[in-house]
Symmetry: C2
Subunit: 288 residues, 2 copies
């Protein structure tokens, strides 16, 4: 199976457990709505790509990490869309979870997906028990407090925002988690991959801000939302051209930082392809 | 150290990690507010008591399970208190997290505590790796979907509520998780303890409903909240006297179901003491 197939199979399996017989029917429906159809699944693909570059020694463990990371990403989108944050009524061209199922269910869907993420790793690594704790602590760090997604979102409630810490926590951390667990699952050294993860995470943040500014919402969220919500946006602060230049520089940095490993060349090619995908379509030709 | 000391030391340690240097300051304050000062810490005490009854073979693992369970309990209280659910302005005699810090932070505190719970187990079982996955899957089952706390809360959004599934998921499941992980941490058989967990969980649900009806809120939540929120309450459906009788019967059942083990007698005595604590003070003498 290629990466997308492994990811979707793993997501389906995780959701079968979470919505098994006896689940409150509305919750089950909402859990699936939050996860299918997916977006670009960029973080789990990155996780599997690093695992493959390191030799894919424990594919089941790598799959579980990829699925956990995507479940956590989906959970964060559900909670971020809620009225107390972005109050976004659509996501990936469909109603957001709270718009369709109400706030109560959206809150519970997020909680349930967070739990399902850790449960997935624990369940799928019973045959590779030395990987369970390192993968879970790595992912927890990427999404929790003080340095992960939760902290990133919480910076928005501070009177003085630490912009570097904010972006690192809100975007780069989950890329780091994806890269690190991919390496761990294959016996690689996650530290060798951290420069790459930081560069890709920062690139993705710039791309997300470009989408918001240029008004193409195929990444999932409606355009212009950042300024409506008073959120920091790099295009607003340095301008479109400088933001595009930064994106190109970050992608080049990511390509250069791929460590020596059996799959290094294929991995570099993948990043270059990904760079085009990352950009709003009207800008892609000028930056490719 | 006795159980309460082990629990508080573990909770402090978990919160030191979650609020370490670099944490957004409001988030750090709110995380602590959600956890300290604690309530009765009944679930983690139960976890450690079962571990002790089974010989306390891996006290660090048992401590991590106890802490994780209490962090998850605190997370569920923070989310349950939010406006879209109970809209409770106080908890344990202080402002609830959303009342003091706002909805955004309350949402993030709940998420952060859920993540910290799994992180704690993974971090503290690195020396006992064969326990990591079984403890995490057991606890995830107790709090997630389809059978744990998340599902229990979600039943309240269904047009037709399955009362048995609702109570099992909303209250009994976390007691089961506490008992099961206590046994697992000491090499015991969690299945031998499940009747006890079910009886105690059901007893606690009745006690909680009694508190709500009788109007003594030292368990944490304001009285009369169930009827205001249209929630099922056993006192409302079978009356005060029958509810008290059921509580007594459940406690007796719990005492009878303690399996043969080195610490069985001490454990039975603990349950009898706990029964008095469980009851609203004005009713305790008549039921002891």
């Amino acid at each position: 199976m290629d990466f997308p197939e492994r990811i979707e199979a793993g997501m389906q399996r995780a959701l079968r457990y979470a919505t098994a017989n006896g689940c409150p029917p509305i919750l089950a429906k909402a859990l699936r709505h939050a996860v299918f159809p997916g977006g670009a699944r960029i973080r789990p693909r990155l996780c599997l790509a690093v695992a493959a570059a390191c030799g894919d020694r424990e594919p089941l463990a790598a799959d579980s990490a990829a699925v956990a990371i995507e479940l956590l990403h989906c959970a964060s989108l559900v909670h971020d869309d809620m009225p107390c944050f972005d109050n976004a009524m659509t996501r990936r061209g469909a109603p957001s979870v709270h718009a369709q199922f109400g706030e109560e269910i959206a809150l519970l869907v997020g909680d349930g997906l967070i739990i399902a993420a850790f449960e997935t790793i624990a369940r799928e690594t019973q045959q590779t028990p030395l990987l369970t704790a390192p993968m879970i602590t790595t992912i927890a760090k990427a999404v929790g407090s003080p340095y992960g997604l939760v902290a990133g979102q919480a910076w928005e409630s501070e009177p003085e925002i630490n912009i570097a810490a904010y972006h690192r926590a809100k975007t780069a951390s989950l890329f780091s988690g994806a890269v690190s667990t991919g390496a761990i699952a294959s016996g690689g050294n996650p530290r060798e991959w951290l420069v790459l993860a930081d560069a890709l995470g920062a690139a993705y943040q710039v791309a997300d801000d470009l989408y918001d500014a240029v008004g193409q919402s195929d990444a999932g969220k409606p355009a212009g939302q950042d300024s409506r919500n008073g959120k920091p946006n790099i295009v607003a602060s340095i301008g479109l051209e400088a933001a595009l230049a930064r994106l190109k520089r970050l992608v080049a940095e990511a390509v250069d930082s791929v460590p020596d490993c059996p799959g290094a060349e294929g991995f570099r090619a993948m990043i270059r392809n990904e760079a085009t995908r990352l950009m709003p379509k009207t800008l892609a030709t000028s930056a490719a």
